[in-house]
């Protein structure tokens, strides 16, 4: 896989990752992953659950140490100088990490103190960031009274109270409605320009990946592709047909005939990869009268993802911590 050429030495580098490897027992969670992210770039990490995205993110955030390889955040080595690296990075985790019992202001104040932001700058930053995410009027409310979307916005504000130059966002818009998602992206684009931030984002929403400068596709701990969304689609994308067969007999015939081309079958709709210039014409000539509907889809990042990993992007089942979490969410005693 030809990766995009290394950045020229003149260009500032936001994040450098070289040969990162992490094993959990015999499982290789990351397999010699290397890439650079330019300062100011919007960089997306795409991969199914268990692909190694989270491991990578955790190593970059210095809460996990790699078995091999190095990573630098704005020049600071995450293994040799984690404290310095942490001062330069901001993180928005997928699961909220706010204190529900403190007010918005107190959460941000806590963050500023823990990051050693001097008092005057701290107050100014907190006001600034609350204004950006449009939560200024709520500053003295307890966080537990906020909606999910507001909490996410507060977390973004919090990650920027200190001088972060690289902002990691793990699924920043998951579980939010379309309006809140758009809002979060509006803030992110605004902040990116204002602060010359490097943004590294993981997301399940393909349309959000489209706006990234570059996309890294990861699966099985390996970096499968790294390029701009356009180039990825050119190189790996396929046109597909979404076909609804008339009846079961036709479906079986299609399954047999296009075994190699069928990407998936879901809710009676078969997704068939277009193979060669005459494919559609031949398909229609043969099955045109025996299908209920057919639509032709341009190459999308989703198809890139499919052809690179052989999988769709999907959510995973629940974890072992669910019972504890459920208990706490019901308002478990002396908790939140």
């Amino acid at each position: 896989m030809a990766l995009e050429g290394t950045t020229s030495p003149m260009q500032a580098i936001g994040v450098e990752v070289a040969g990162l490897t992490k094993r959990y027992g015999s499982v290789l969670a990351l397999d010699h992953v290397s890439f650079d992210v330019k300062a100011g770039e919007l960089f997306a990490l795409l991969g199914p659950n268990g692909a190694g995205k989270t491991t990578l993110l955790h190593i970059l955030c210095t809460i996990l140490s790699p078995d091999e390889g190095t990573a630098r955040i704005a020049g600071a080595d995450v293994v040799r100088n984690p404290l310095r690296a942490r001062r330069r990075l901001g993180v928005v985790f997928q699961e909220p990490s706010l204190d529900d019992r403190l007010t918005l202001y107190e959460n941000l104040e806590f963050h500023g103190l823990v990051y050693g932001v001097p008092a005057a700058l701290r107050r100014q930053r907190i006001d600034e960031m609350l204004a950006v995410v449009e939560l200024s009027e709520w500053r003295d409310r307890l966080v537990r009274t906020l909606s999910v979307g507001m909490k996410r916005r507060l977390e973004i504000a919090r990650a920027l109270v200190h001088d972060s130059r690289v902002l990691f966002l793990d699924e920043p818009t998951v579980g939010l409605d379309a309006q809140s998602r758009a809002r979060i992206w509006r803030y992110l684009h605004q902040l990116r320009l204002q602060r010359q931030l490097t943004l590294i984002v993981t997301t399940h929403y393909i349309e959000e990946v489209e706006q990234a400068d570059r996309v890294a596709v990861i699966d099985g701990g390996k970096l499968l592709a790294l390029d701009s969304p356009g180039s990825l689609k050119l190189a790996h994308g396929h046109e597909v047909l979404e076909v609804t067969p008339l009846d079961g007999a036709v479906e079986n015939e299609l399954l047999e005939k296009f075994a190699m081309n069928i990407v998936r079958t879901q809710d009676g709709v078969m997704t068939i990869r277009v193979d060669g210039p005459d494919f559609v014409e031949n398909f229609l000539a043969r099955y045109g009268s025996r299908i209920r509907s057919m639509s032709r889809k341009e190459p999308s990042l989703e198809s890139v993802f499919l052809s690179l990993t052989g999988r769709t992007i999907r959510d995973q089942g629940s974890t072992a911590r669910d019972r504890t979490l459920a208990f706490g969410k019901q308002g478990g005693e002396h908790t939140r």
Partner: protein, 284 residues
């Protein structure tokens, strides 16, 4: 990015680290205190528990706590039962609150707040220190609520007693909060404080010679006339016994053991448990 910027940052590195540590310890400590003051349930418990123990149980058992004769042995504690358990109730309040502070470690972990601190530039030992410090402060505060009942327990307390008592209480709270953190680290699925209460707090409390005396004036053989062997053994092995003894010595000037043992055990618990908690915290 020129090289000089990086060097400038190196120069101020230690200054920045100091600011992070001072600000961070303060922030984590303040968070613990604020959360505790906003938790009405915990505050209520801190207030009602000593009332129940002193005013109901203490007053109720007071008439039965007299010198008794067991065969040849005369059992003498020159204090009323109320006076005898009063210092232990302070210890109980500290015990409960310390363990509650440790339970918040579980919630911080499960609800992600711990990560917010772990990705911050705070050095790990300082995170734990601040957390334990905050928990210990709250526990000491709850212990002080019990002191308010000294009038009902008929325990006259001087300012000096309070000051030295606060010192002992802080050591005790620090050690017990650390112990709570050690236990919390081993809990993967957690569904309530009741587990802690029944498995840790009450056994430790009841076997610390808090509600009945082990008269050290008696020989081991004589003590065993009064109590079964195994119980005496457990009480003597429980470090909390000596912690309670230190508080009792401080507030009602009655020691069951050598007065030097209590403070030493408290110090050893604080240092020992914190060290273990720290080693585990760094490993994870």
């Amino acid at each position: 990015m020129s090289v000089s910027t990086v060097e400038d940052q190196d120069e101020s590195e230690s200054a920045a680290l100091l600011r992070v540590i001072v600000g961070g310890v303060y922030a984590i400590w303040l968070r613990e205190v604020k959360r505790a003051l906003r938790d009405r349930g915990q505050l209520f418990g801190g207030f009602s528990r000593p009332i129940l123990w002193v005013i109901i149980m203490g007053v109720g058992l007071n008439p039965y706590f007299r010198g008794e004769v067991y065969g040849e042995v005369r059992f003498v504690v020159p204090y009323t039962y109320l006076q005898f358990i009063f210092p232990a109730v302070i210890a109980l309040n500290i015990l409960y609150t310390s363990v509650q502070a440790a339970v918040s470690v579980i919630w911080d972990r499960e609800f992600g707040f711990l990560r917010e601190v772990l990705v911050s530039p705070m050095p790990r030992p300082m995170i734990l220190f601040a957390k334990v410090l905050g928990g210990a402060t709250v526990a000491m505060f709850h212990g002080s609520m019990a002191i308010l009942l000294s009038y009902f327990a008929d325990v006259p307390i001087s300012t000096g007693d309070i000051l030295s008592g606060l010192g002992l209480m802080f050591l005790m709270a620090f050690g017990l909060t650390s112990l709570g953190v050690i236990i919390a680290n081993r809990i993967r699925s957690f569904e309530g404080f009741g587990v802690f209460s029944n498995a840790v707090i009450l056994p430790l409390y009841f076997t610390s010679s808090s509600v009945f005396p082990l008269d050290p004036a008696l020989t081991a053989a004589q003590t065993r006339v009064v109590y079964p062997d195994w119980l005496v053994r457990v009480v003597e092995l429980n470090p909390l016994t000596y912690a309670v003894d230190a508080l009792r010595g401080n507030f009602i000037h009655f020691y069951q053991f050598d007065p030097r043992i209590g403070p030493l055990v408290l110090l050893a618990m604080a240092v020992g448990f914190f060290t273990i908690a720290l080693i585990e915290f760094r490993r994870n």
